[in-house]
Amino acid sequence: MGETLKIIVLVKHVPDTQFDRHLSGPANSIDRSESILSELDEYALEAALQLSEARGGAKAGNQVIALSMGPAAAANAVKKSLQIGASEGVHLTDASLAGSDAAATSLALAAAIRHIGAEGQVDLVLTGMASTDGETSLVPAQLAERLGLPQVTFASSLEINGSTLTASRDTDSHSTTVEATLPAVVSVTDQINDPRYPNFKGIIAAKRKTVTTLSLADIGLDSAQVGQSGSWTTVVTAEPRPPRTAGTIITDDGDAGVKLVDFLAARKLL
């Protein structure tokens, strides 16, 4: 491995969490009409850009490739990543991918990563800590298992020296430092950095960057291996939870603390 890095950042196009989100249809799938680049993936992109810039950026031969799997509109997540600073984009799209669960998604992403790696080894795959729609955090771990690469998940700091990666990873009971040899799959938390916004220069520069569109056939998979047929889980029913309604609201005039305790007593919560 040389001084430069070839990094793939996984970016997902997800329904905007600022709006109400809905499940519908025979597969209880999510309505993707108001979608954006998953905000948690911006931390992964920022981490990639910082690693690249510390080594001289794209000019010095570092690559930050934004890869998104999703319907036509997911190209917007790729485009946004290019505006923020990724050097190139890859959009994996195919009608048969719709309805993929984590197992099928990780299968397809692993095949796409191998496809990209055929033109020069990938040093690092960076992901967000969770997708804001699936919320499972299964994909990074399943991807590492499928690619046979070290898994460094929930990294709150990340450093690379030569081919050694060092990261911190916190659990409730412990703070740990972990080390792995590249190539590796790393997911980062929202504690790792402050993602940048695209600026005017970035938006202009993005127009000149390449986006490669890949189909299932390009990555050597069959339609039965992905989508609903390739998924190992199915959602059989989905019920909206009744929305919470506002209860009693009072303004403190000196005894609200006592009223709070009265409320707890009335609800038998003391």
Binding site: T17, Q18, D20, R21, L23, I30, D101, A102, A103, D133, E135, T136, S137, L138, Q142, A144, E145, P150, Q151, T153, L165, R169, D170, T171, D172, S173, H174, S175, T176, T177, V178, T189, D190, S231, W232, T233, T234, V236, T237, A238, E239, P240, R241, R244, A246, G247, T248, I250, T251, D252, A256, G257, V258, L260, V261, F263, L264, R267, L269, L270
Partner: protein, 316 residues
């Protein structure tokens, strides 16, 4: 009867409550079997027997805890195959979900996370999209891997004999391609209940303005845990472990008291399935009041200490 394998990670001298819950669930689904990573003490062995476990699978390798999850998952998959289990149950912690994720790939098994209950036919129930939907999901594979949330099962031991022990090898490839843990520092325990298990959570946000004492006073009066918004953890007023929300913990306590928190969508994502929500905020237009069962427009620095004192007074 179907064999249901429960993963138990590095038990100390007794089983954690979450492990006891998984074992109780396993009894209701079939014949419980345990896969224990790390040392197995005689006390834990007997305790497993008391949950009806007839057979315990252990690893022929003492290094499982030195790596990031891959060897644990490889062990669990081997244990499932060796024991003939068709269902694997794992706790719903971040690490538990990752172990389940990789075990699923090794076993070609569907994985369902965040499970709150399981029907007799294997259908698993969970909530999704930040608590706005409840779904029922099934796996279509021969084997099933479920991660089950804490506090969803009432622990019940049935009594039983001493289990037998079966040792399995851990596939070598799971070590060679794993990240190594090079240092581990324990965090000091607060003495309060675990945030994700607590019956009561009192959470503070930017409105505490650097001083969590009013939050802690009320939490302690109620025997609850302390939570926080990201604004409070980002400011360094309290550890990130206390963060509730999309990028923190998801809690579903009986009672959530939100103080000095505006109620942003990412905060609601972690707490809106609480049974009762009380909000204290000095701004009457704060969105948190839209989801509060009881709201107080006021200053948390006076309301919370007054409530804590009143609770102490009534408790005598």
């Amino acid at each position: 009867m179907e064999k249901v394998l429960v993963f138990i990670d590095s038990p100390a001298d007794s089983l954690k409550k979450t492990s006891q819950e998984l074992l109780t669930l396993a009894q209701s689904m079939g014949q419980p079997v345990a896969a224990v990573a790390g040392d197995l003490s005689p006390a834990v062995r007997s305790e497993l027997g008391s949950y009806g476990v007839g057979s315990i699978v252990v690893a022929a390798d003492a290094r499982l805890a030195d790596f990031v999850v891959a060897p644990k998952a490889a062990f669990l998959a081997s244990a499932a195959t060796a024991s003939g289990a068709t269902v694997v149950l794992v706790e719903n912690s971040p690490e538990g979900k990752e172990i389940a994720a990789r075990t699923g790939i090794r076993l070609n098994a569907g994985v369902i996370t965040d499970v709150v209950s399981v029907d007799a036919d294997g259908t698993a129930h969970k909530s999704v999209l930040a608590g706005s939907y409840t779904t029922a999901a099934r796996v279509s594979t021969a084997m099933t891997v479920l991660t089950v949330k804490a506090n969803t099962v009432t622990v019940r031991a049935v009594g039983g004999g001493e289990p037998e022990t079966v040792t399995v090898d851990v596939p070598a490839d799971s070590f060679t391609s794993a990240a190594r843990i090079t240092s581990r520092t324990g965090k000091t325990a607060s003495g309060r209940p675990e945030l994700t298990d607590a019956r009561v959570v009192v959470a503070g946000g930017r409105g505490v303005d650097g001083d969590f004492e009013p939050i802690e006073l009320l939490a302690d009066a109620l025997g609850g845990a302390v939570g926080a918004s990201r604004a409070a953890t980002d400011a360094g007023w309290i550890s990130h472990d206390a963060q509730v929300g999309q990028t923190g913990k998801t809690v579903s306590p009986e009672l959530y008291i939100s103080a000095g928190i505006s109620g942003a969508i990412q905060q609601k994502a972690g707490m809106q399935t609480a049974k009762i929500i009380i909000a204290v905020n000095k701004d009457a237009d704060s969105p948190v009041f839209e989801i509060a069962d009881f709201g107080i427009v006021g200053d948390l620095h006076t309301v919370l200490p007054q409530a804590a004192a009143e609770i102490r007074k009534r408790q005598g």
